[in-house]
Amino acid sequence: MKKDGRQVERLQLPFRVAFHISMQSVRIRFWRSVITAAGTVLGIAFLVSVLTAMMIQRNSGAITDPSERYRMTWLVIMSLLVCLVGITNAMLMSVTERYKEIGTMKCLGAYDIFIVELFFIESALVGLIASVIGWFLGVFAVVLLKLFGEGFKVFGWVSPGEVFLYLILSIVIGTLLSVIATIIPAQVAARMPAAAALRVEV
């Protein structure tokens, strides 16, 4: 410490270690992770289903109403915002559940920033997996629906390249959404006092 004439080094948590801890955390608390993921899955599924439906409509040669496009864009943005709130809420619950663990880590010498890092990696992981699932559900649902309506010619209206682009888009938006939603919960976690490790109630 400075008072002893010693310098406190600026330490960093190795990414490999942080990633490992976060991944274990997702795996072991599987159902909690599913609840957090649900928000992203639904948001992304809705986004992709709208995109896929528009693509099919365009490729089928049907006339599209421009005002319909604006309405859908608006709906998608609103749904993503609602999902954001949902993920934040699920993450906050997860933080309060883990008060003892977080307090213990602080007793062991974790800096606040380590705790923030762990939560961000965890939410990015959950967001990534949820996005892929959401993308699949979105495409699957629309294609299935159109298949019942229009028959097999639907497959001619689906362009694989575009569907693949949706996957990239989903991963980018879904992961970002999940990480942004974790900003507040991660702050709450980082501010958890070390003394929380001793708390027995709750």
Binding site: M1, K3, L11, I28, E101, C107, Y111, F114, A194
Partner: protein, 257 residues
């Protein structure tokens, strides 16, 4: 630099007192009411001693644990560790102190549930800047020391209470701390296991010279302590020296210390 134990750095220059509490007062707000958990505690703890803090439930033992361990700030008075006033430390220096100088043991073991025994023991070393390889080597060594060399890769849920507390002791020793702070370390263990844990702590105290401060209402602790501080309603009631205790134990069992 991280590998070498840094215990001696301050030991060489430090005074005989490793912890000094001066008129420590701690108040908690309970709604509109003020609860005075500590009411002026003055206590000097000698380097290398095994000190037990005894008192009934609610007497302020855990609160004192928080103050000495730098986990919470006192409302009044001061706590010095190695002659450094803890009130002067910023958040990072406090984290550094918790990482290197103090090892913590809890009633509820507090292992990180998602990590194996070895990973739990490695965690303070990783936080302290050790490389993973170094942390693995030392982690294995420590788990062997506490008798868990065969349980390295078990999760806490796969270990008994006594085994979990042993992992916690190994973890507390990870960065060669000068002080081990234990809050009711035997509170969640049966009689026999509790005794084993106490003996392990005593052994570490003797062999490694680490100062042990243990809050407890377990009378088994009396036998191994150098000094017992009885607290009641947030005040020190009396302090018993080992010598006095030893005579009494000797009388009963007829075995000289």
């Amino acid at each position: 630099m991280a590998v070498q134990p840094q215990t001696n750095q301050t030991t060489a220059t430090g005074t005989e007192y490793i912890v000094r509490c001066k008129d420590v007062v701690k108040e908690y707000m309970m709604g509109t009411q003020i609860v005075r958990a500590l009411n002026g505690v003055t206590l000097d703890i000698v380097r290398g001693e095994y000190l037990s803090i005894m008192g009934p439930s609610g007497s302020g033992k855990s609160t004192l644990f928080n103050m000495i361990g730098g986990l919470d700030k006192p409302t009044g008075g001061s706590v010095f560790i190695n002659d450094v006033d803890m009130a002067q430390l910023d958040a990072q220096e406090l984290a550094f102190l918790r990482c290197r100088t103090i090892g913590y043991i809890f009633q509820t073991f507090n292992l990180i549930p998602v990590m194996t025994a070895l990973e739990n023991v490695m965690l303070p070393m990783i936080f302290g800047g050790l490389s993973t390889d170094e942390a693995i080597d030392r982690g294995i060594e420590l788990l062997k020391l506490v008798g868990l060399g065969e349980r390295l890769h078990h999760k806490p849920s796969e270990l008994s209470g006594g085994q979990q507390q042993r992992v916690a002791i190994a973890r507390a020793l990870a960065n060669n701390p000068q002080i081990i702070l234990a809050d009711e370390p035997t509170g969640n263990l049966d009689l026999r296991t509790g005794k084993e844990i106490i003996e392990l702590l005593r052994q570490l105290n003797k062999e490694q010279g680490v100062t042990i401060i243990s809050a407890t209402h377990d009378l088994k602790m009396v036998d191994v302590s150098d000094r017992i501080v009885w607290i009641r309603d947030g005040r020190i009631d009396r302090v018993e020296e080992r010598a006095a205790v030893e005579v009494r134990v000797g009388d009963v069992e007829g075995t000289p210390g």
